[in-house]
């Protein structure tokens, strides 16, 4: 990456860590994660394994709500914000390609996201003890992966949106859609088609959503496949290679698409 690209990564990191919205959501996540961790420790009454089975799934649910939100807040103005402030042209007047700007922004904001996840999970880990702590540490990387997928989605929205207000509205829609209503929608589809769409197709659609894949993969890792079946979650987790492909698609796909769209734009305002 060029010197300008490297400088932009640091600049993005510095700027994002001073964004009050990012700070507010990150602190809120940290506070709730700490509360979950503290509750898990006390409810386990000193039985570490019991505490872990309580804390891990609760933290997964919490992270699957908050981390996509932090990521979307972080990335929704990446390109459109620069355009509105008349600084995109200034950035591109330096020796840097359009694609490089997109990647530098993704890396810089990704680093800010990593700090946010580390703050949230870190406080929960600091409060937890024993086996519970190990369980929570194992959640760190998958949670970051979930965040990066939504960061990439936000970046794509930011590249396509004509105004920052439109981008902000769109990321809210995406957050509600993928985090809250996606599974409900699939359930509705199952009911509406009265078995016309097979359960296996529905299960594949569940894990095609990064939030769904994260939840299912983490729950299975924490509670085991049988426990999920007992809860009525009959979703076969894709193979490691398939999961890698899905995550790569969600993380890299939108970033590459953003870079391509920006590079092909004949007119930049």
């Amino acid at each position: 990456m060029s010197r300008v690209g490297r400088a932009l990564i640091w600049h993005e990191l510095l700027e994002r860590t001073r964004d009050r919205w990012v700070l507010v959501v990150s602190v809120l996540f940290a506070a709730m994660a700490s509360a979950v961790s503290a509750y898990g420790s006390s409810a386990g009454h000193g039985q570490e394994a019991a505490g872990a089975t309580l804390t891990g799934p609760s933290l997964v649910t919490l992270a699957s709500l908050f981390v996509p939100l932090v990521a979307l807040v972080l990335s929704h103005d990446a390109i459109v914000g620069e355009r509105e402030r008349n600084t995109l042209g200034l950035l591109l007047s330096m020796p840097i390609s359009r694609g490089e700007v997109v990647f530098a922004k993704f890396i810089g904001r990704g680093a800010a996201l990593a700090l946010s996840v580390a703050l949230g999970m870190g406080t929960a880990i600091a409060i937890a003890d024993g086996a519970q702590r190990h369980v929570l540490i194992s959640l760190l990387l998958p949670t970051l992966l979930l965040g990066l997928a939504f960061l990439a989605i936000g970046l794509l929205i930011s590249t396509l949106a004509p105004r920052q207000s439109v981008a902000a509205s769109l990321v809210v829609v995406v957050w509600f859609g993928l985090v809250f209503f996606y599974d409900l929608g699939l359930l509705g589809l199952l009911v509406a088609t009265d078995g016309g769409v097979s359960e296996s197709v529905i299960a594949q659609l569940v894990v095609a959503n990064p939030a769904g894949l994260y939840r299912v993969a983490m729950m299975q890792a924490l509670l085991g496949g049988q426990a999920l079946s007992d809860l009525g979650l009959a979703v076969d987790l894709p193979s490691v290679a398939q999961r890698g492909f899905i995550w790569s698609g969600w993380v890299l796909g939108p970033v590459l698409l953003s870079a391509l769209i920006l590079a092909k734009k004949r007119v930049l305002r």
Binding site: R3, R85, N86, T87, G89, M94, I96, R266, V267
Partner: protein, 303 residues
Amino acid sequence: MKSVVLEDVSVSFGKLRALSEVSVRAEAGQVMMLAGPNGSGKSTLLRVLLGLVHPDTGGLLVDGHATHVNRRFKEQLGYLPEAVAFSENLSGQQVLRFFAHARAVGRKRVDAVLERVGLSHAAKRRVRGYSRGMRQRLGVAVAILTEPALLVLDEPTGGLDQEGLDVLWSVLSEWREKERVVIMATHDLTLVERRVDSVCVLDAGRRVAFDSPSGLRRSVGLPLTVTFDVVAERIDEVAERIERWGRAELDRKEGVVRVAVSTEDLLALMDLRANLPGAVRSLRVEEPGMDEVYEALLNRGAA
């Protein structure tokens, strides 16, 4: 860099023709100005120069050679966008340090540039607390940070107070002295008239005129205004002589006779005055204002 030429540039946005075969030339040691009303194509032409808009036809020549807006060209470029708004969460110094880091410029230069634009006292303050003029001065600081061979300024006077304007004038003087190229777009022709060497007037995407400010004045042929301060008891006599002369429009008010006369007839008018010894206390000759010249050029272009 000795010259920058944008040749036969045409740009369309859908059905809208933003620029039609516009050519401009900027030379080292000169300030070239793009003037025109809103929507005339000034900013689009600058964006073509910066590689932000790809033209339908035409292109860029640097020192006579066809060039693309590549990294090598951008290394020599400093740019001030119109109404630029830097991150409000960072201080002026942090903003400038980012650009310095990106362009391999040392911290001493950052401090010197902050001093140059009069922002040393506010360097550590967040941009959120800056006035519009201070933000614009920060933009000027970013543009001149690398001492670029080509300085591109889009509406640089916007929001600047007198102190900010003085900074801008000193930058233009320095760039001219150091034989660098300056291209700037503005609709405020009267303010910068004396600081530019050539003016390209655009209207509706077409080049209406391209000349020095004095050349533009000559080309429109607007009359000069001569104001005679006349001894009170002889004002009728002076006015009558000028009216009888018949080659100027006359307007008289309490002890003052104002005459609109063509450049060619100015000497004849002076002779007339010489034939009225003791009647005229003093006189003042004024060229037409640049705003009038500009309006005349736009009217001519529209016709």
